[in-house]
Symmetry: none
Subunit: 238 residues, 2 copies
Amino acid sequence: MKSVFEDASMPKKTVLVVDDEPAIRDMLTMVLEAASFVVLEVENARLAHAAIIDRRPDIVLLDWMMPGTTGLELLRRLKRDPLTKNVPIIMLTAKAEEGGKVAGLDSGADDYVSKPFSPRELVARIKAVLRRISEDEVKEIIEAGSLRFDPISHLVTIAGEEITLGPTEYRLLHFFLKHQNRVFSRDQILDFVWGANVYLDERTIDVHIRRLRKSIAVAGCDQYVQTVRGAGYRFSIR
Amino acid sequence: MKSVFEDASMPKKTVLVVDDEPAIRDMLTMVLEAASFVVLEVENARLAHAAIIDRRPDIVLLDWMMPGTTGLELLRRLKRDPLTKNVPIIMLTAKAEEGGKVAGLDSGADDYVSKPFSPRELVARIKAVLRRISEDEVKEIIEAGSLRFDPISHLVTIAGEEITLGPTEYRLLHFFLKHQNRVFSRDQILDFVWGANVYLDERTIDVHIRRLRKSIAVAGCDQYVQTVRGAGYRFSIR
DNA sequence: AGATTGATGACAAAATTATGACATTTTTCT
DNA sequence: AGAAAAATGTCATAATTTTGTCATCAATCT
């Protein structure tokens, strides 16, 4: 499966690079432009905030360590502002410090890449985040058997009957519906539904699977959520 | 910049170094071990072939210029043999000759590094190849007779009917399907399906063979799993 | 026939998944 | 803001499956 971003007909995505060191900005710009992104550079948090509102980048690469307002501070500010809180952000950190990692993700970063990183890895992460985001933007009704999923009205029905789902179960079901007839390991499910770098006990997935099954256990729809021993779970109407 | 990937939790990858010059082998070994690879060394093509089958390295570094069978020749041979053709290979060449480069890649090398190279570059290339390989690993639908094996949905069907397999039988069948019409000793099967350095009673293989046969005993598919007395087992639809 | 090698059924231990309960955290409502 | 309700992540425990070995029987070879 080729990445959607390699499609020349597709408008290029814009990345905002926020880093105080010109050398690093240059490096990132080179890498990202080679990967067909449009790159914007700013050197501090204030300019970053302005650029995000002004230029509406598709994603922001934010350096953790910056003089003045730190990346973390900016991250929090951005996530608080309704105008900017939907812009995906990838944090760049010098070291994989556990503390920083957790703090950053808790504050809403979509992913986290520690320096030094390989260009290939960075680009892959960016694309992964963008893919996740753009997938969520697809609002089309999905039907599977007697189950009907309507992302627009945020309504799930089985044989006409409305079903109530918690936020997580809703996302989980949406994910499954978008990728039917395919096994996913718990790891993958975690990545896609919860987001990268979320550390949860693998067993927690089981619990959510159970909750989802319970919720859609009407007309036997819970059978669509299938356990594949030793591999993970699969959604299939057969 | 420091080394990029240092994940102690990952099982170490094994690199086979094929080069006739001891000095170069030593150098490579040092570099690779520093990067947490397990290194195997051999000095010629014949030994290389044996080592690949025997030790199953995750990747091979192959010198272009060698007395006797050249690297290119070995590369072609490896890519022709179904048993070895999936092992990723990086060619090492003395100079970046355009011609050689093209020939090597055309013959199936996964990447190409020209000497002299920086240790960091070499390690980066190796990791890049390993990542690429593991990403698009074996998710191809395989059909044999009325049997259909779909790794994507993790589904095995015979004449349309779904078959249930335990994890081990599933892997065993997958292995057989990828290497049809070829006898494997129990030792080899153990290595391929259970993984190297796993000690199990040889008779256990028999039991799993039987379980696999029983599971696919629909439309006579169990006959595909053939006993080769004194040698091992073979999967063949004839 | 005697010796080897493979096939099978039975088991108990090990591994994996399902579930119900609970403490917290987040959201919603008043 | 404060109370009430909903949602979440973890556990401990139960329910299922899977797996490695054995003991025994069958087939093949010398």
